[in-house]
Each structure stands twice: as C-alpha cells, then as structure tokens.
C-alpha cells in the first residue's frame, strides 16, 4: 500500500455511510492505482467500516475535529507515507473522479503546486442558493483582492496537490471553512495555486445544515482569519520541505 511516486486520494467523511462506498468505488474505477484513504471524522453511522469494506485505508478520528482537522489528517497521512501526489474529494460524492485529469494536468506539467476545481470559473455552471452565494462571492472577492490573483471558488474542497502542497497543508491547515484561509496560506508561502473549471454534482446525502446565524458567525470568523493570515510572517519553503 505504501509507495513513492504514487497518488493518494484523501476523502474526508462525516456520517456518509450512504455515500462513501460509491465515492471509494468511483475513485478506484477512475484509476485502480490510486490509494484511497478515508478520514472518518468521528462518524456515528458506520462510515469507517463501509469504507474499509471497499478496500480504502481508514483513519478514524476519535471524535469530530471538523472538516479542517479531518482533511489535515489526510495530508499528514500522505506526507508520512511518502506520496508525491494527493487528490482530495469530499465524502458526500459531490466531486466526480472523472474530473480529476483536469486537476492533475497543471501539476504534472509542473505549472502548479496546488490545483483547485472551481464551480464558478465558467459562467452558467452551478447556482447555489442566495445566502450561500453571498458568502461565496464575498470570500472570492476578498481573497482575490488579498492574493492579487483571481480566485472564483474559495470553498471548493476538490483539489490536487504535489509534495510541496501536501507538506504545507500537513504542517498548517485552518479549521472552519478551511479552504478560504488555506488560499491565503498558499499565497503567503509563495506556492503556485491554479483554478480549473469543473462540474460538481449536487450532494447525494443530507443538507448543508448551516443556519443563518452560524453562517454569519463563520463569515466573521473566516474574514478575521484572512486578515490575520495576511498580517502573519511565513517561512517560504525551500525545494524540499520536510514538513512535520
């Protein structure tokens, strides 16, 4: 299972017993050589055993860490096992492995350290509900302004990373809505981030259970985190950073 020069698919999952088997199977169907690691973020519905039964490596967290902590666990796994490439897909099935070549292309050509699949890079794609759209637009504008690079989808968790990207996120990854702040982190560390347009499926299971008050709280928190991240000093990694 361990190897170098190989790719690992990191799948964070919280109570996705109904969807996780399909996600693991789809990744395997796309490329049987990919190793799949499911990070079970304190699920109570048997997500871990379903994933294991499909042949995925399972890292089960003892309690719910939240999406950032779960995803970072996956990056630490990738770094520790010496993978050179990692892709990240959410456990609810909204990311289609068939889109992975678009993400992997810029990394294989050496043009990027981290590639994000964006739902909004092409017009007329995905249309989320108004409240979500306001938040997404706010962060896209703010992050684009701060990083002086056009970013259209700051909350996308559909990503591919080379070893530098893996090492960066294994060492430092934010928590709630981590992708927004992570974009600034990538910029401050001078890694190359590229967005590519992808299509995403509607989530197969469950609602995005975020109430209005919670979204206001997250907006404030993440906005604060963005400005703090901009005010921090970061080490610029050398060619090969050992990470943690």
């Amino acid at each position: 299972m361990k190897g170098s020069g190989r790719t690992v698919a990191i799948v964070p999952a919280h109570n996705e017993a109904g969807a996780i088997a399909g996600v693991v199977d789809a990744i395997r169907a796309f490329d049987p050589s990919f190793d799949v690691v499911v990070v079970d973020d304190g699920s109570t519905d048997g997500t871990a055993s379903v994933a294991a039964s499909r042949g995925a490596a399972v890292v089960a967290l003892p309690y719910n860490l939240g999406i950032g902590g779960a995803v970072q666990t996956g990056f630490k796994y990738a770094l520790g096992h010496g993978y050179d490439l990692a892709v990240r897909l959410d456990g609810d099935g909204q990311h289609d492995p068939a889109e992975l070549p678009k993400l992997l292309g810029p990394i294989e050509r050496g043009e990027a350290d981290i590639v994000t699949g964006s739902r909004f890079a092409i017009a007329g794609g995905y249309r989320p509900p108004l409240a979500r759209r306001i938040g997404i637009t706010w962060f896209a504008r703010l992050v684009s302004l701060l990083t002086r690079q056009k970013v259209t989808d700051t909350t996308s968790g559909f990503q591919a990373l080379n070893r530098r990207g893996i090492a960066l996120f294994a060492g430092d990854y934010p928590n709630d809505y981590p992708e927004v702040e992570a974009t600034v982190l990538v910029f401050k560390h001078r890694l190359r981030l590229v967005e590519v347009p992808v299509e995403m499926r509607e989530r197969e299971h469950g609602e995005s259970s975020i109430t209005f008050l919670r979204s206001v709280y997250y907006m404030l928190k993440v906005t604060l985190a963005l400005f703090v991240a901009m005010a921090r000093k970061y080490a610029i990694p050398e060619e090969e950073d050992a990470g943690r």
Binding site: P62, Y63, N175, D176, Y217, K221, L224, A225, V228, A231
Partner: protein, 133 residues
C-alpha cells in the same frame, strides 16, 4: 454627563484590548474561534466609550442619570461573564475529548503490546515521566 477624560481613557483601554487580541491571534497564541467574543467586547466598549451621546442616552433609559460611565462598567462586566461562561463550556468539551484520547491511546498500546510480545513490558509499563537519578 460623562466626563471627557473618562471617555478618552475608556476608548484607549478598549483599543488596547483590541490590539492585544489581534497580536495574540497573529502570534498563534489565540485561536480566532475564541477571539471573536473578545473582539465583540472590545468593539462594544469602544463604541460606548467614544460615542458619548449614546452612552448618556442608554444611561437615561436605565435611569442612571447621576453617573453614565457606570453603564460602561456594567456592560464590561456582562461581557466578562459571557466570555467566562463560554470558556467553561469549551473547557468541559476539552475534558471530554481528553478522556476519549487517553482511552484510545491506552487501548492502542494494549493492542500494540499484543502484537509484539517482546516489547510488551516496555510498551505497557513505561512510566509517562522517566524516573530521575
């Protein structure tokens, strides 16, 4: 009416609080999640300190006509109580998680000892802090 000196001193103190909180976050000694309440506290106190008319009006509503800055004190106390209560819930959650971690670690050690019998005495009995001379 609120004395001008008090308005200035209270504004400066609120600004100082905000500055210290920001620096703590920047130095990674305080997480944003736990800083939001402090920032809210600082902003509310700053507004009430600097906006003298507002403080006097609120004092009027509450019938504190003799000494409006008492409202500043009351609001600050209220926020401190809320922050403390919130921290108590955070502390409780941490205690629960800590228990869970200790249990998981102990169970893992037991399993590791089963798998490699040669190291079992060391793996299981090893004290957390090595004995000194």
């Amino acid at each position: 009416m609120t004395p001008v000196k008090i308005s200035i001193a209270a504004s400066a103190a609120s600004l100082l609080l905000l500055l210290v909180v920001f620096e703590l976050i920047r130095g990674r000694r305080l997480k944003e999640r736990y800083a939001l309440l402090w920032i809210l506290t600082g902003v509310v106190l700053l507004v009430l300190s600097a906006w003298r008319g507002g403080l006097n009006t609120i004092a009027g509503w509450l019938g504190v006509s003799t000494y409006p800055p008492a409202i500043l004190f009351a609001v600050a106390t209220l926020f401190v109580i809320v922050v403390l209560l919130y921290y108590s819930t955070v502390l409780s959650q941490l205690a629960d998680q800590n228990t869970l971690l200790a249990q998981r670690l102990a169970l893992l050690e037991e399993r590791a000892a089963q798998k490699s019998p040669g190291e079992k005495s060391g793996a299981v009995k090893e004290p957390a802090v090595p004995d000194g001379e």
